[in-house]
């Protein structure tokens, strides 16, 4: 079972929820994948020992000008404008290329070969008995979805996999959320939190992934988010009240469930409600 922890707004507590949820469960049966490849941070709390590292890249076109007839077919078929064909020159804008391979496949002169362009690395290892994996996107790189997909490929079907998604609702988030069994939307009870929760909820609905909300610092804002959950029929899985001890431990890079048993119980309850919701969804879908 893949549970993805996402949020429209950044800084709402995705990593707090993902890390503590993973640590509250039976470690031998759990895995955590940090898919925020632009700035992975779950490892700061889990302190894993990495034993595997591998480069990830995408295929980009390389033009053999001696064979090219400058017909412009490659530029015409590229959905991302990564190729411009001029009089006697073909320009490749690698940073725009998504690595689909269309140009090489459709070139009538067979003048295009593909070259591996590295975009980042995936690393994996163990944090105690917990399986851990993440990706690191190369600095300046914009093409994160292929790397996120590579991190998700490490998902072990025999385990409960918790995925920490990047913030927002753009392509990287869609890549992280797509295909998961359940999505936990972490938010905060503020106007920004509500606005971005709505965007994120629209996104998971489009992707047809069952979702529930967790309101972090639930006692510090207004009641609009709860109202929204009721109106939209978005299950409110848990409210996390503000707790200075949690914030202090967070600032030291310490997951609260390892230090406070009450919090451990809370996150176990969160998992139980996710599992129950999941069961309901499955039952509903099978009718």
């Amino acid at each position: 079972m893949n549970i993805v922890v996402a949020s429209g707004k950044g800084g709402t507590g995705k990593t707090t929820v993902a890390v503590n949820l993973a640590l509250a469960l039976d470690q031998e049966k759990t895995q955590l994948l940090d898919c925020d490849v632009e700035e992975p941070n779950a490892h700061l709390f889990l302190k894993p020992v990495f034993d595997k590292s591998r480069e990830v890249g995408i295929p980009v076109p390389a033009i053999n000008l001696a064979q090219c007839s400058f017909c412009g077919r490659c530029s015409e078929v590229c959905a991302f404008n990564a190729l411009a064909v001029l009089k006697n020159q073909v320009m490749v804008f690698e940073e725009l290329c998504h690595g689909c391979g269309g140009c090489a496949y459709l070139c009538p002169e067979r003048a295009i070969t593909e070259r591996h362009r590295p975009i980042g690395i995936v690393e994996s290892g163990k944090a105690g008995k917990l399986d851990y994996g993440h990706g690191r996107l190369n600095p300046g790189e914009a093409m994160s979805p292929p790397l996120i997909n590579a991190v998700k490929k490490m998902s072990n079907p025999e385990k409960i996999t918790i995925i920490d998604a990047p913030p927002g609702t753009s392509c990287p988030v869609v890549s992280a959320v797509k295909g998961c069994d359940y999505c936990v939307l972490v938010t905060e009870p503020t106007p920004f939190g509500l606005n971005d929760l709505d965007l994120a909820f629209q996104m998971v609905n489009k992707l047809d992934i069952p979702a529930g909300a967790v309101i972090n610092r639930s006692d510090l804002g207004d009641g609009k988010v709860e109202e929204y959950c009721q109106i939209k029929n978005l299950p409110l899985l848990q409210k996390i009240p503000f707790d200075r001890a949690l914030a202090e431990l967070y600032a030291c890079g310490e997951p609260v469930v390892l230090h406070r048993s009450a919090w451990r119980n809370r996150f176990r309850e969160l998992f139980t409600s996710i599992a129950e919701r999941q069961k309901e969804v499955v039952r509903w879908r099978n009718i």
């Binding site: 991302f80 404008n81 411009a84 009089k87 320009m91 725009l96």
Partner: protein, 125 residues
């Protein structure tokens, strides 16, 4: 000289557009006579990315020798240079005005980007 002017509509009387890759159209004129040769609708204006180089390709296919614009980004500037299309900046008013000012030497040639990537997506005109 075959000069393309970034414009908001396809006529000599049209207002110019400060953006290159994102302008609605290019009005192509014979700079000597000041007459309009044709106009090119910019089908890449709404592209998610890479509009600039595609526009350079469009202009190159039409045999354009120079382009008059407000701003140009890094990828577009590289592509225009590769296509051997000269870049002149400082458009204002109408296309007709701009051609006149081009002939008076009031537009400045540039060989590099004048703005950063994606500036044309920020609603600048």
């Amino acid at each position: 000289m075959k000069l393309a002017v970034c414009a908001q509509e396809e006529s000599l009387a049209a207002e110019v557009d400060q953006r290159f890759g994102r302008c609605p159209c290019f009005v192509v004129v014979d700079s000597e006579s000041g007459e309009m040769i044709n106009s090119i609708c910019n089908v890449h204006a709404e592209a998610a990315g890479g509009a600039g180089p595609q526009c350079a390709q469009l202009l190159a296919e039409s045999g354009v020798e120079a382009v008059a614009l407000g701003n140009v980004g890094p990828k577009a500037a590289t592509a225009l240079e590769a296509a051997k299309i000269m870049i002149y900046t400082g458009v204002e008013g109408t296309v007709e005005n701009t051609v006149q000012r081009f002939n008076e030497g009031k537009l400045s040639p540039v060989s590099q980007a004048t703005v950063s990537a994606h500036s044309g997506l920020r609603g600048k005109r």
